[in-house]
């Protein structure tokens, strides 16, 4: 599988959760991905808050994570 890098900071090898969260929050067809920190900065929320959201989505059974 192709390695994904953060569109903003260039962080390499983004995790499945980082890729899934970018898709979940911005667009399922997105080709540019964000690491947790850059996504949090873009959306003006705390990184920890986004991590909580990831757990919520997993609880809901979302297949993106």
């Amino acid at each position: 599988m192709e390695r994904k890098v953060c569109y903003v900071c260039g962080k390499d090898n983004l995790s499945k959760d980082e890729i899934g969260l970018t898709k979940k929050l911005l667009n399922k067809n997105i080709k540019c991905f964000y690491c947790f920190d850059c996504l949090a900065e873009y959306l003006e929320v705390d990184t920890d808050f986004l991590l909580e959201k990831v757990e919520e989505f997993k609880t809901q059974g979302c297949v993106l994570f």
Partner: protein
Amino acid sequence: MIYADNAATTKISDSVFEKMLPFLQEQYGNASSQYSLGVKAKRAIEQARQQVAVAIGAEPYEIVFTSGGSESNSWVLSSVNNGHVITSSIEHHSVINSCHSLERKGIDVTYLPVDSKGRVSLDSVKEAIRSDTRLVSIMLANNEIGTIQPIAEIGEYLCGRNILFHTDAVQAVGHIPVIVEELGVDFLTASSHKFNGAKGTGILYSRNGVSLPPLIFGGEQERGVRAGTENVAGIVATGYAIEESVKDMTVMADKLLAFVRATIYGIRAKIPNIIINGDENNHLPGIVNIVFDGATGESLMHLLDLKGICVSTSSACASGKDEASHVLMALGLTEQQAKSAIRISYGRYNNMNEVKTIVAAICNAYNKILSVKF
């Protein structure tokens, strides 16, 4: 938190909560018990039945308490055991899936189309009627787009035709005037938590002389058609909540309509190409359903959630399966448009400052979504 998903559920009213609380603690008797504690519970249930009956213009003995709207809807639909049923293509899943169950039993079901505003026409009902039509079930107001159906017209037409008429009024009761006699219905469904009552309590109006087969066998509760120890606290809450909602319905409707107009005006000023779904002239006061070109409703909903704002998307997204709303598709929207919609539904506890915050947050979230590189 700003809660703007009142079509999904509502916060229980403070005064209603106070009224139901004793029945969870001090007055916890079983309404079937013969001693004083039980009799008090029984009286409280009958008082609630009276309150509900008055609110919808029925007689108390025509009211049965259930566990919610889905149970009431399923009960009515499942009572059909042969012939033909007519419903609309934009019903709640409790009706749609009950109809699918009937079809598996060999019963024919006609799903009437709606126009681009979500209205069923009387002509389409007339055309669909067959000699073996047993039941027509059309919702009073739609949960996703707020469109109000011509139930009284349909009821008038069906009167004397030996066809039972049911309306799912879950979104309407407590929000717009609902009088069963004027609607000409045999059955009507309502749900307590949609009008600031308690979850887990529903209403089924069944016109005098029209009987349903028992749903649950056991004791003599609810005249023996729905056995089981009553949810006394929930039923008490239902009685007070419907009374309270009907009492200030006009004032509340004006307030909610102002919120909806401010929302549409505010968003349109920044995002001119939004599409408003529903029927402007026949509409529940607090619901607005908006399509945002280029963004998915799911993304918008989640970005608003990050800001502490609760709205709803019409698509089923919890599992990651991205299904478009059957209601929006029935209006003639493309799948992409249907997936780009959110529903904002205001309620008793919202205020204009919250509306302004929601408008600003939506415009901001929309820009965030459109600004990312695809």
